[in-house]
């Protein structure tokens, strides 16, 4: 964001985590479920 916007009355909400980070978290959550045996077989 440019400095010109910093003085604006309404400050846009910052994304808590980036899209990349969410994608990594989802992938690791799925990997953990596979490792724990929750998903034993994923068909294709």
């Amino acid at each position: 964001m440019s400095k010109g916007n910093e003085g604006a009355l309404v400050t846009p909400r910052k994304r808590w985590l980036s899209l990349d980070t969410w994608a990594v978290l989802l992938a690791f959550a799925l990997a953990a479920l596979v490792r724990a045996g929750v998903f034993k077989h994923v068909p294709w």
Partner: protein, 361 residues
């Protein structure tokens, strides 16, 4: 197309409401992708049963074609747009999961030559695009956006650079449109060229990862050739993505030195902010697979989860490509992009041919 990019940047008002808004579009991605998979399985079988000559078209191409047909005829109703814009999220999750199919030793072994090719490609692409931008009289910042988009990683690189060099919205729309239109074209031309030149899966995969700019299209162009080529295309493209921060930082410093962008304060923080985190996720999953944290069946399950994530991505590639919107963006940036991309494709093909001989791919 640009709508999809803008939608992806919308800040969530309320997380639950925002999440619910994504559901229709994600279901559309899944429906289109699964329809592609069913068509792959059934059309060829039907043609064979009826003794017709019909090529075995991969689910990747079916999913893209169905998406293109919907986007360019009835269009994408508003209710689906937020969810369709998540295709990049599925791509990144799919790339991280794909890490389980690479042992870290393989990544390092493949990564060395690939990194060298990527560095040469980045320098060549920036030089071609900058020169073409001057010849065609494009605005310098638009030429910068096209150079970064074609050198590193398509739309993400353009968006990252736009903020860093304070380029106009119009310029970034032009650059994104050109990169996406040419990426769509590559999906149909690259596999044909690869087959006509009898490229190995390895050589073709590296070529797609080097020459196709947007990650989704690079993965799709690779997967259209073969599963092995798809893996290599993703690895090569991920190596390019990993360098995004350095290229954006160099341009940010250049434009700041001309007084046309803000100076970069903490360069390390800037690099970390621009670094694509999914690359770290890919390497970490690869490390876990190398340490035998997953057994063979579990690696198979992770590979299939990765395929499902890519299925949603490929459907999204078709659904977010609207040729009428792309055509509205003007001819000159597209001409510069097209000439530059052809030059880069030929240049990288030469690099891959050379590497094929040296490394016996």
């Amino acid at each position: 197309m640009a709508d999809a990019v803008l939608l992806a940047q919308v800040q969530p008002a309320r997380p639950v409401a925002q999440f619910v808004k994504l559901i229709p579009g994600v279901l559309l991605l899944a429906g289109v992708g699964y329809a592609g998979k069913l068509l792959e399985q059934n059309v060829w079988k039907y043609a064979k049963d009826h003794h017709w000559t019909f090529p075995n078209i991969e689910y990747v191409l079916w999913a893209i074609l169905i998406g293109l047909a919907i986007s360019n005829t009835v269009g994408i109703p508003q209710i689906f747009r937020a969810g369709v814009a998540t295709y990049e999220f599925w791509l990144k999750a799919g790339i991280v999961l794909l890490g389980a199919r690479f042992l870290l030793g393989d990544v390092l072994k493949l990564g060395g030559p690939t990194l060298a090719l990527v560095l040469i490609e980045i320098v060549g692409a920036i030089a071609f695009m900058t020169l073409l931008g001057r010849v065609f009289g494009l605005k310098p910042k638009l030429a910068t956006l096209l150079a970064v988009g074609s050198a590193v990683c398509g739309v993400s690189a353009i968006i990252a650079t736009k903020g860093a060099i304070e380029a106009d919205d119009e310029d970034s729309s032009f650059a994104i449109a050109a990169i996406l239109a040419l990426g769509a074209l590559a999906l149909f031309t690259f596999p044909l060229i690869g087959h006509s030149l009898h490229l190995s899966d390895h050589a073709y995969g590296v070529w797609s990862g080097l020459a196709v700019d947007n990650t989704a299209e690079a993965a799709a162009a690779g997967a259209l050739y073969s599963d092995a080529a798809g893996k290599l295309a993703v690895l090569t493209k991920t190596t390019r993505n990993a360098l995004i921060g350095f290229v954006v930082l160099a341009y940010a410093i250049y434009w700041a030195s001309k007084g046309q962008a803000q100076a970069v304060g903490n360069k390390a923080a800037f690099l970390w902010q621009k670094f694509p985190k999914f690359v770290l996720g890919f390497l970490l999953i690869s490390l876990l697979a190398t340490l035998a944290v997953f057994n063979k069946e579990q690696i198979g399950a992770l590979a299939n989860l990765s395929r499902w994530a890519f299925l949603l991505t490929f459907a999204g590639v078709g659904l977010r490509t609207n040729f009428r919107q792309l055509a509205k963006q003007g001819l000159r940036p597209f001409a510069v992009g097209a000439i530059g991309e052809v030059l880069i494709a030929v240049f990288t093909l030469g690099l891959v041919y050379g590497a094929q001989r040296i490394f016996h791919w």
